[in-house]
């Protein structure tokens, strides 16, 4: 190493140090440079299309189980039984939010658009079981039993109506089938 390179090294060290210190001094003096957000007190604005926790609006859900099939990590599980009006009735709809990777495929694929991402991102639990979101409060067995009962009732009613129909074939009064679905929808 020649003397020139040696002196150059020294000059470079001094100049670059001074330059760096000028930059840090600017940051140190200017309070506007602070980017910290005091999280629990202040929050970020949630952007549009934010993929937070999943929420299923079970009123509009048609139990097609498309979300279950498309989920890459199998975090959604669904049980449904056929109700008295031939429509599917959800017995249980669980999302294991601890396993979900927020890819959004289930939301994209949902035909009635009942499954949606919310803006929620704060959750803590002491056990993994608490991370499973249950969208139907009732026990799946209870729902199934109730639906089965309703189906049986409806069948019995239909049977009775048919018998009545046959018995009074000439009678003008025909039991309206429109009342039955209303009855069956009630438990939901």
């Amino acid at each position: 190493m020649g003397l020139k390179a040696y002196l150059n090294d020294i000059v470079e060290a001094v100049v670059t140090t001074a330059k760096g210190m000028r930059i840090t001094a600017r940051y140190g003096v200017d309070p506007k440079e602070e980017v910290t957000l005091q999280y629990p007190e202040e929050r970020w604005e949630i952007p549009e299309g934010y993929r937070g926790f999943l929420h299923n609006d079970i009123k509009t859900c048609i139990s097609c189980s498309m979300c279950v099939k498309v989920c890459p990590v199998d975090c959604i599980s669904l049980e449904a039984v056929r109700g008295a009006d031939k429509k599917m009735v959800l017995a249980s709809y669980d999302i294991n939010i601890g396993r979900c990777m927020y890819c959004g495929l289930c939301v994209e694929v949902c035909p009635p658009k009942s499954l949606k991402h919310t803006a929620g991102y704060e959750m803590a639990s002491e056990s993994r079981g608490e991370l499973i979101l249950h969208f139907i409060a009732e026990d799946a067995g209870e729902v199934k039993a109730r639906v089965a009962r309703q189906v049986a009732e409806a069948a019995a009613k239909a049977e009775a109506a048919k018998a009545e129909d046959q018995a009074a074939a000439k009678a003008a009064e025909v039991p309206s089938s429109g009342t039955k679905p209303a009855e069956e929808k009630k438990p939901e």
Binding site: T17, M21, T24, A25, Y27, V35, T36
Partner: protein, 371 residues
């Protein structure tokens, strides 16, 4: 200290019957306690300021939860350090492991003895002041090396070895960069060095402006001293990203606290020496603080000294959060190929200057031109 004891005994008639050595001993303990309290307070507040400065420079806020605006954070840290469990690894060398923090702590704190805080405010005005500081801070090497060895941990050992290499290497440029001040004052005593920078020239009486060589030697000293005390651009012994935490990785609780305190103590010692040797020490510009009544003169000079020293500490923090850490080979190259030759050339320059111009500095010559 004995002279002070004699004057105290003469001043207070109640003490007439007490043997002199008791009074001297008591005074010594009191002075030691005062200095210890000062040092601990400095370290507490210093750590808070360090974190606040770091926050500002890194576009963060820094601690702001404990007390108003985070002011009591250092108390929380201190309580935490004291209360945490003191763990000694199963395979550690127990005796050396326990001994190491005291070496580091003592090495850093013993240097406070000769820091010239004010006109008469110095624990012991040793006639070998600078030499004593250099010698006693070398104790840190032993402590750090012991800590690294006794931990029986590869990271700690690497950190300790690095520290030994680094501190021993940088002691040479530090000493060589301080000698110009000694040459100008003609004494190793820090009080004499500070007094030699007083007079009617104001800040131009400082050794910093004495001649071009002393100007450079201030910066050389500041750089080398940061390396010698393992401050951040040169904190290879505790390089977090390579060595986890370096030589103190196995320490916890109060033993870790001692290392931590010693680090801040070193910071103050470097700032204090830079102030005393190059920035005029406790000299109040254009004014002789020694002519005031003892109390006021001491307070005024103490304020001036601490103001300068704390400014130097702030600059050290500023450097610390600006520069990235050097590599080991870069560090060694900087010591042996750059700082050592430069300080030697500088020392030669100062000596020649003093020989040729009969000990007069540039400001002094300009002043003598105008009578």
């Amino acid at each position: 200290m004995e002279a002070l004891a004699v004057s105290l005994v003469n001043a207070v008639p109640l003490l007439a019957g007490v043997p002199l050595w008791t009074v001297t001993l008591l005074l010594m303990v009191m002075v030691a306690a005062v200095i210890l309290v000062f040092a601990l307070t400095f370290e507490g507040v210093g750590s808070l300021v360090l974190r606040k400065v770091a926050g500002d420079i890194q576009a963060r806020i820094g601690p702001n939860r404990v007390g108003p605006n985070g002011m009591l954070q250092f108390l929380a840290d201190g309580v935490k350090l004291v209360l945490k469990e003191d763990i000694i690894p199963a395979n550690a060398d127990r005796l050396l492991f326990k001994l190491a923090p005291y070496f580091v702590f003592v090495g850093s704190f013993a240097a406070f003895v000769v820091v010239p805080f004010g006109v008469g405010l110095i624990a012991a005005d040793l006639n070998i002041g600078i030499y004593y500081v250099m010698a006693v801070t070398s104790l840190v090497v032993i402590g750090v090396l012991l800590a690294g060895w006794a931990s029986n941990n590869k990271w700690a050992l690497l950190g300790g070895m690095r520290a030994a290499a680094q501190i021993v290497s940088y002691e040479i440029p530090v000493g060589m960069a301080l000698i110009p001040a000694v040459l100008i004052a003609g004494s190793l005593s820090l009080q004499d060095i500070v007094r030699s920078q007083g007079g009617l020239l104001g800040i131009f009486g400082w050794n910093l402006f004495h001649n071009p060589f002393t100007f450079f030697s201030f910066f050389l000293y500041f750089t080398a001293a940061q390396a010698e005390t393992n401050q951040t651009p040169f904190d290879l012994p505790e390089a977090e990203s390579e060595l986890v935490s370096g030589y103190n990785v196995e320490y916890s609780g109060i033993r870790f606290g001692l290392f931590f305190l010693a680090e801040f103590g070193d910071m103050f010692i470097v700032a204090a020496l830079a102030t005393a040797c190059f920035l005029g020490g406790w000299n109040v510009p254009f004014f002789n603080a020694g002519t005031l009544p003892w109390i006021w003169g001491s307070l005024l000079s103490l304020g001036v000294f601490l103001g300068k020293a704390f400014t130097m500490v702030l600059i050290m923090m500023w450097v610390r959060w600006t520069l990235p850490r050097l590599r080991v080979d870069q560090l060694m190259r900087m010591a042996w190929k750059y700082l050592v030759p430069l300080t030697f050339v500088n020392l030669l320059g100062v000596s020649l200057w003093l020989l040729v111009f009969k000990g007069k500095g540039i400001p002094g010559m300009i002043a003598s031109l105008f009578g």
